[in-house]
Amino acid sequence: MLWSMTDDIAVRAEDLTKFYGTRRGIEGLDLEVRTGEVMGFLGPNGAGKTTTIRLLLDFLRPTRGHATVLGMDPRRDKATLHAQIGYLPGELAFPGREKAADLLKFFADSRGGVAWQTVTGLAERLELDLSRPIHTLSKGNKQKVGLVQAFMHSPALLILDEPTSGLDPLMQQEFLALVREARAAGQTVFMSSHVLAEVQQTADRVAIVRDGHLAAVERVESLGRRAVRTVEIHFDGPVDAAEFAALPGVSDVTASGPVLRCTVDGRLDPLIKAAARHDVVDLLSAEPDLEETFLSFYYHSEGAGDVAAGA
């Protein structure tokens, strides 16, 4: 294929920047999405996710920097490129008032004839009734139409903006299965979200954006390892909080009688060694939750607390 000759990077953004007048969309984004991986693109609303996606699709033109998608230039090669991209808009609006089937036929035709079986197969999996007019569908069903058109032509790259919005939990699982199958078939998936669970279950890596800047790119597992976890230790007698407060990585220490509560960032070792000086009755460590990890990026950076709280 054309793109595989260039390199194993499906999406490369270099200093990608977009200002709307003086308002910042995204600034100085350097990002690589590897061919065949699922990358989650996380951040609160207004962080610049949709702006970035629209830049990759050539709906917007960068103020500075540039993007390479499947080895091609989004503007110059738009026609070739879009045949290999499946895009799900974050704000779905459908042109026209026709039946879902007729709209999907248009997408199938415009992509050079997608087998109708593929379309009906996807619709069945998502339990979507194709005979109803688009404008009479519920939000969740509209989202399914959007997903069917994005996946129908087995594109090399799937760009999905908030893909599970409006889907019930069962359909979210079906969607995650679609993403896993896409990865198994060698397709690349770049999906934005402000819900961590869906990314946690499928993504290989996550890129986190905040206030128009890239905050971090991490493997999902390492994000879990460096997670802030809550630890609760029950001793057989009262303990002094001050004894634990100075330990590396330990914070928010409270002691009420024999129960010590704190949060630990990183390794548990220092806390365990300190606790071992007393008789430990019980120890509870909450499963590191990506949601908390995610939020820690906001709470632990200056001036970003409001953004996180508002998201």
């Binding site: 738009k78 045949a83 609006a93 459908f94 026709e98 415009s110």
Partner: protein, 261 residues
């Protein structure tokens, strides 16, 4: 035709059918009415002051050509056709851009220019068909109701009406494609249509204002009195030229801007 052109027609179908019925009904009623109107024509002709007749580009309502000019080709006919052209043209880019549907249209594997050109092509064909309705109906009805205007003259006036529609289609498309704003495109297209109509009207009634008519698209359409004098290719080409320049400018400007901001 490409999937996008067919899709555009499907989405515009109701609007096109509605305008077609309105334009056809108007043309049929006025043209057929000539038989019963002929007797009363002198009365109406006398009742209208000369200045008003000049403004409405009505020379004489008593002759068949004058009657056709005063009814189908003067005010209401061009008004309906130009309005239909404006309304359909803002559906090419500004309307889907404002309601968000343009993103799923633009995922078509087409370049920006090809996308704009195909949207325009679909609308161009629809508008041309609508603008041709009066001519076709007048040609069909006229002989039967005693309107003995040569078919070639009717054809030349009717082609002028199509040219007028193209002219305003081009202007409206250019504004809509360049800005993505439906209200602005309608305001500019509609404003220039009204201005053009008024300019042609007042050029005939104010002293020394004759040159104003050259600024009005309506002059190139009907100012040559095609129902009496037949074909004036240079005038018609001027209308086509405005349409072509507008179309080309719109496609180029759409290729250079952000969409859906």
């Amino acid at each position: 035709m490409s999937p996008l052109v067919r899709k555009t027609w499907r989405d515009d179908r109701r609007a096109i059918i509605g305008w077609a019925l309105g334009i056809a009904a108007f043309t049929t009623i006025y043209t057929s009415f000539y038989a019963s109107f002929a007797g009363a024509a002198q009365l109406k002709d006398d009742a209208l002051p000369e200045g008003m007749k000049n403004f409405l580009s009505v020379q004489d309502m008593t002759s068949p050509a004058g009657y056709l000019q005063a009814t189908v080709y003067s005010l209401v006919g061009p008004l309906l056709v130009v309005m239909a052209a404006l309304v359909l043209t803002v559906r090419t880019i500004p309307r889907p851009e404002e309601d968000g549907g343009i993103e799923l249209l633009m995922v078509n594997p087409l370049s920006r220019r090809a996308f704009a050109a195909q949207r325009l092509l679909a609308t161009f064909i629809g508008v041309t068909a609508l603008a041709a309705i009066p001519g076709v109906l007048v040609l069909a009805i006229a002989p039967g109701v005693g309107i003995d205007v040569p078919a070639g003259n009717i054809a030349s006036a009717s082609v002028g009406l199509v040219g007028l529609a193209w002219c305003y289609l081009g202007i409206t498309f250019a504004v809509g494609a360049a800005t993505g704003r439906r209200g602005l495109a309608l305001a500019v297209g509609g404003g220039l249509a009204v201005t053009g109509y008024i300019l042609r009207g007042i050029s005939g009634i104010i002293d020394g204002g004759d040159w104003l008519k050259w600024l009005s698209p309506f002059h190139y359409f009907i100012g040559t009195d095609p129902l009496h004098t037949g074909w004036h290719p240079a005038h018609l080409l001027a209308l086509v030229a405005v349409g072509v320049v507008g179309a080309a400018a719109g496609i180029v400007m759409f290729d250079r801007r952000d969409v859906g901001v």
